[in-house]
Symmetry: C2
Subunit: 369 residues, 2 copies
């Protein structure tokens, strides 16, 4: 399990070198060069942004999926339907990262003439961090939304078992001198990785994170891991049905709309023996420049960010009000200076892949202060 803020026996690798190494490994799996470059860039974007659970730490599991014949590393996405503002893609069980990048770029181009465009993908696989695609749209001057469904880990309000995914919602927009606003959130209170971190740290869990197999609140990580995550909001009395509703809506817009798998029918995360994932993804892109002068939208974003970040604070605030995406942008700046800091287990796993494919891992050093 990848670490978050406190890696065990940390070591630092240069982000650019690790990206090239990852691309080379993905190529050795039978992936065309341009497809592998997308996979590597998006995995490293997660590492750079401090979201270890969606980055190169997952490479051993991706390799296992290809080894087992569950993911087709050579597949290219197929454009099945192409209306002026709605496209459906078949990822043909290839890399979700590449199919999503292609579908998103197509939607951005369509939005330049239609004003907005929606793209949905089926027969896809994990696509990494949802925010990467939303940010890519924002860097093209657009408002971008990125959704994916995922393996059942969350119990709907009142249900005892996991039936829906942590189904993230990411939305980004250009914010001028405030960079890119990017909300990238799981629709569960916490992701499963946070429970695994709590297990490693020996923490007990607050009410609202997870339930045990019998449906009672899980107060230990072990109980949570055999039970189910709770949707954002927690139990019914604290409006957890809103998180459940949001997760369900993500599934409606991806799995159901795209004719992919959905809800409890999605195979377990990184399973090598349960069949293909058949995930669905959706991108929604809007061009603000179609509505007023190109600078108007960004100027308003800056004014709003200025107002929010200068708000008077509650007594125990650990800092000023944040704009969504600021912590991840700060992690990116740190990674640019220190490199990608990973723990020993993660490093050793990459080392085994390096050895198997004959692609030497870039040198690792002690992280800079």
């Amino acid at each position: 399990m990848p670490v978050y803020q406190d890696p065990d026996d940390p070591r630092a690798l240069d982000a650019g070198a690790l990206t090239r190494w990852t691309a080379a490994v993905v190529e050795r799996l039978g992936t065309p060069q341009d497809v592998a470059a997308d996979v590597a860039e998006i995995l490293l974007a997660s590492d750079r942004r401090g979201i270890a659970s969606h980055g190169t730490a997952r490479l051993p599991q991706y390799v296992a999926l290809v080894d087992a014949g569950v993911v087709d590393p050579g597949a290219r996405p197929l454009l099945e339907k192409d209306l002026p503002a709605l496209a459906r893609w078949d990822a043909r069980n290839g890399w979700g990262h590449h199919a999503s990048r292609v579908a998103l770029d197509h939607a951005i181009e369509r939005a330049r003439t239609a004003g907005s465009c929606t793209a949905v993908i089926r027969r896809s696989n994990h696509y990494g961090i949802a925010g990467w695609y939303a940010i890519r749209a924002a860097e093209a001057g657009m408002i971008g939304m990125s959704l994916t469904n995922s393996s059942p880990l969350v119990a709907p309000t009142r249900a005892r078992i996991p039936m829906i995914g942590t189904n993230p919602i990411a939305v980004a927009a250009p914010a001028g001198r405030f960079g890119t606003l990017c909300l990238d959130m799981a629709t569960s209170t916490v992701p499963r990785g946070r429970i695994e971190v709590a297990a490693r740290r020996g923490e007990s869990l607050p009410v609202g994170w997870a339930i045990d197999v019998d449906g009672s609140p899980a107060r230990t990580p072990e109980a949570a891991l055999r039970g189910a995550l709770q949707p954002l909001g927690g139990g019914e009395e604290t409006a957890g049905y809103k998180g459940y509703g949001l997760s369900l809506i993500v599934d409606v817009l991806t799995g159901i709309l795209g004719d992919a798998a959905f809800g409890p029918n999605i195979v377990p995360l990184f399973s090598t023996h349960a069949g293909i994932a058949d995930l669905g993804q959706l991108f929604w892109v809007i061009d603000p420049a179609a509505l007023d002068d190109a600078d108007g939208f960004v100027a308003r974003m800056e004014r709003y960010c200025e107002q929010l970040t200068s708000a008077p604070l509650i007594p125990d605030a650990p800092g000023r009000v944040l704009i969504p995406g600021e912590p991840e942008a700060e992690a990116e700046r740190i990674a640019a200076r220190r490199g990608i800091v990973i723990d020993r287990e993660h490093h050793e796993a990459l080392g085994r892949i390096a050895e198997r494919f004959g692609v030497p891992l870039p040198p690792a050093g002690a992280p800079a202060a």
Copy 2:
């Protein structure tokens, strides 16, 4: 303040008669007949669905806004930008309900050829329940999303003062024999009306609903009403920044995208002396029939609803797993039988309006069992 489930001295009015009466009153304010019909239908939809806070209980406040010259009752919306999949409307400070219905219907028509369409409105006013528009899209066979920004009532995570609205998110889709799935949620843990109900009932508040003026958790309704609501998720440790992020995204997609007011710059709710509301609304419509045969989407929705509603339950579940929108649909069925049940205060307020405009209120009776 309108009541929820426990009206004081309840009386029942026929929904159809109350709709006609409401339309007549809105016409007397200087509103064209077709515009008034939209306002009445949408206010009554709220009453029918059991959401008293957005229905005819607000009529005295709407009348006051027109009396004060803050809302223009005769305005018709103007289509300012009309791309194949993106439109911007100027509501010209008229009724938000009508401008929104017109913009939504236009987006539905555009989506029939483009596959999807996004419409944004500026210089608008309150539009009633967000869900009404999403459901209207679903009844046209579409997936519909409806967003509005609103007066600052919610404190962003870490902030001590209200700066953002309860900015609702509504999404609906046709679900065959399960009716219409409709998530319609404020992005705060609870709406302000729920605090007002707690005040009337003398309840104390759970942590996560609101903060006091000093930024500490509000444990009494009185403290909450002078302080600020908290975003969905509550405090920072329970992921309240997700609710804050969702509220902010709604504002980006409405106020900022539409070049309307946003965040702390929106005038207080129903203020008659602070200038126009200049709210923003957004509708996003997708035509599933553009992607596969017309029945495919609905069949998958039915299968998903079937799976969710037959899930094994937690020990203290008050009933089976619900599909978003089921409680409101049940309220509609009850209202069709019992009429619209309102409390004495609400009834007397409508009576004063009836007298002023010379439009007799329909008879009220004791609610049927």
